[in-house]
Symmetry: C2
């Protein structure tokens, strides 16, 4: 980074400190799904904000992981809200990491840790930007609020409750969402929406104990029941078979498809990087626009995990008493997650699988901000200046998050930008960020806050 702008100079001077602070965040495990380290992590985040001069509040600690709220005063009346989360995905499978997942080791300019990219790096970049502006400008150009939750990876149930009763506190003129980053070509990706989700655990129990597999001739097998039930939900041609699943879906607009055309590219590299045989629906690496449209505008039905019986080394001739699978439906605009759960239930019942139980692990609607909103354009313009290249605007991310419950009370635009990159391995072993992206991301947020304050 050439140090021209005063913000950039300051970032360069303080990078060692910002990086050490990020390492501290990454070395504290905070696995919401497993209840590991959450209290310690919430305290760490709260302290970090207070040391930077924020007034903080801990919200909703009574019924889930605490939500940390922080507020910094600023020159203008305008308020920008940052949404982040301090929880991380489980680090398993541990044996596939090349460094311990909470070591925050730096190697070849990359910081490796579960949560480095998703989402502690972005949280730290934004707080660093606040500190740079305080030093360079003497005060912040606008009011800044942070809301940092601890259950984003487990579907934000507590955050949704907090938002519903904290509308006044969270009031802002715009919101920056948690993530973003660069693709394989180095292009910066900005998102104006997220998909919804419907996360279900399916389970079957056929006996009160595991039995000898010789009884397979006369006794029901939970693993078979689950296999057949799953096969009714989605077929080998990758079509989702739940009746009514696609009802009400808003088809992509011409603008959406045009965005997909601009976004497309790098699919063949992705295929090679991940060792994929092929893309779904027989699409070739060259069919970038179609693949991108599938990714952004298509709902999904994914088995995230399944387990039954003996899964250790060698053979155990057991007939399993139970079987379970975790299913993740990503939903698009027009789909209602509660309606999807009901349709899955009805379909299983109608297909003879009334014995398959459903537990709802999480439900959320999709959410979008119009791509021609002035705040979307401001994020694009400042990204162009910070990164020295045109940013790519995604009408929606293929991922999800609790944007809908927040957007519903904010009545303000929400855009996502961040410091990730294509090789970040979010949710996978060896999650990492590049420190150069970290520095550039701090600069982008500095410019964004400065212009946002001026626009009043």
């Amino acid at each position: 980074m050439k140090s021209r702008h005063p913000f950039q100079k300051r970032i360069q001077l303080d990078m060692t400190g910002f990086t050490a602070e990020l390492q501290r965040l990454c070395r504290q495990p905070s696995i919401a799904a497993q209840g590991v380290g959450m209290t310690e992590m919430a305290r760490l985040v709260d302290n970090l904000f207070r040391r930077a001069g924020a007034a903080t509040r801990v919200l909703g600690a009574d019924s889930g992981q605490p939500v940390i709220y922080a507020e910094f005063p600023g020159r203008s009346d305008r308020t920008l809200l940052f949404y982040n989360h301090y929880d991380v995905q489980p680090p398993e499978p541990l044996e596939e990491w090349t460094v311990p997942p909470f070591s925050a080791e730096i190697r070849d300019g990359k910081l490796f840790a579960r949560g480095a990219s998703d989402n502690k790096g972005d949280l730290m970049a934004r707080l660093a930007a606040v500190q740079v502006l305080q030093k360079v400008m003497g005060e912040l150009p606008c009011r800044v609020k942070f809301v940092v939750e601890g259950e984003e990876e487990t579907n934000s149930q507590n955050f949704q409750r907090v938002v519903a009763r904290s509308a006044d506190l969270l009031k802002a003129d715009a919101c920056i969402w948690e993530f973003g980053g660069r693709d394989q070509s180095g292009r910066v990706e900005i998102y104006a929406g997220v998909k919804g989700c419907c996360d279900l655990e399916l389970s079957v129990q056929t006996a009160n104990t595991d039995l000898h597999s010789s009884l397979g001739a006369i006794v029901e097998n939970a693993a078979w029941r689950l296999t057949w039930a799953l096969a009714t939900l989605k077929g080998p041609s990758e079509e989702i078979l739940v009746p009514g699943f696609f009802d009400g879906i808003q088809p992509p607009s011409a603008g959406d498809l045009e965005a997909a055309r601009r976004i497309a590219g790098g699919e063949e590299e992705m295929r090679r990087q991940y060792g994929l045989q092929r893309f779904l629906r027989g699409r070739e690496g060259g069919e970038g626009q179609a693949i991108t449209a599938d990714l952004l505008f298509g709902p999904t039905c994914t088995i995230c995990g399944m387990e039954s019986g003996y899964t250790g080394a060698g053979l155990k001739t057991v007939l399993p008493k139970e079987a379970r699978a975790k299913l993740d439906f990503r939903l698009v605009a027009g789909q209602d997650p509660r309606d999807i759960t009901e349709k899955v239930r009805r379909h299983l019942d109608a297909s003879g699988f009334g014995d398959v139980k459903i537990e709802v692990l999480g439900e959320d609607f999709a959410y979008r901000t119009p791509v021609d909103d002035p705040f979307v354009r401001l994020v694009e313009e400042t990204a162009r200046e910070a990164y020295g290249a045109e940013a790519l605007l995604y009408p929606t991310s293929s991922g999800s998050g609790p944007m809908y419950p927040l957007g519903k009370v904010l009545h303000a635009p929400i855009v996502s930008t961040g410091i990730g990159y294509w090789g970040a391995n979010a949710h996978a072993p060896d999650e990492n960020i590049r420190l150069e992206d970290f520095a550039a991301g701090i600069y982008h947020i500095c410019l964004l806050l400065e212009r946002f304050g001026q626009a009043s």
Copy 2:
């Protein structure tokens, strides 16, 4: 047990010692599938035989778990061979045991341990019978050989090699197989055969790393591929769908079906004990003969275990790179396990699942001794005397074991009888034997050896 016969008196006097010896065997873990404690266990068995006066040999230790061979001299020229195994099933799931699985704790007249029933209890009962006869009669009434392998639970590959090259050493006039026991009504079950097996591990890999589940819209999912592949093998009506699977099967004879009629009973109790909703093919508890015929004469296709992706607590929105399932086919007379493996391969290929890999974990043919063989009748008669009631003769067990490779070289009848019972939980948590069955089983073997020697 009323102590009338001199054998029974001796058993009563020595029961404490026999039980302590069995506890020693059970406290030594010997999990072939996980390679735990096998060398120690083989040494323990070898020592046990030598202390009882046997000449022993360790066979086949170069290419797998050692096979322990032991020979005791006897009065007549006739030789009885005992087949047992010293390996046990893995103890998982550990949390469902009410005592540590290798504690060999005694509670309410039962000895609890992984392997207590399958198969250390029977091994010890037979060795105890040899010691009782030595004390009461001064010498054994016939020559006795033991062959005790260490890979029965992982499909006896090494045992089969040992048998093939040790035909002269193992030569015997008859063989007692490893297992047997009492059903819910207290009836003693004797078996004149075993089913074959074809144990396969199916696996699919779709990427070189686990991915974020948002990519489910465009990327193949190993868990889905495996689910669909499995669903082509067996359908919800419990019919095995592999073309040619039933070819060549010898249908049950009138005698087989008559045996099934005599055996039937207790199905409703079994259903309640295991908390089963129903029996396969909609059979009611009252349809005992049909259920028994299914169990004895029907081949199976059982999922013993399957695993993919994240299976821990809560949610992890991951798209799994790989998935695997362990499949156990139990085969009946007329089926060739290698042929079954080939048919499964061809069927998966033809169904579009060429990407599903197959690893063979074990293969064996079914084996039967004619139910009117004089040795079968001798085992029945001595069981009647030892247990004071008519024994039930099963034309075949529903389980399997390496009876075929041994029978092929012995050219002698093989019958299975043992000290288990309906509540033994073989292959399941809280495996146990009843000490009264242990004592009665020793007595049965004493009588059997005595009459077998006289029959020369």
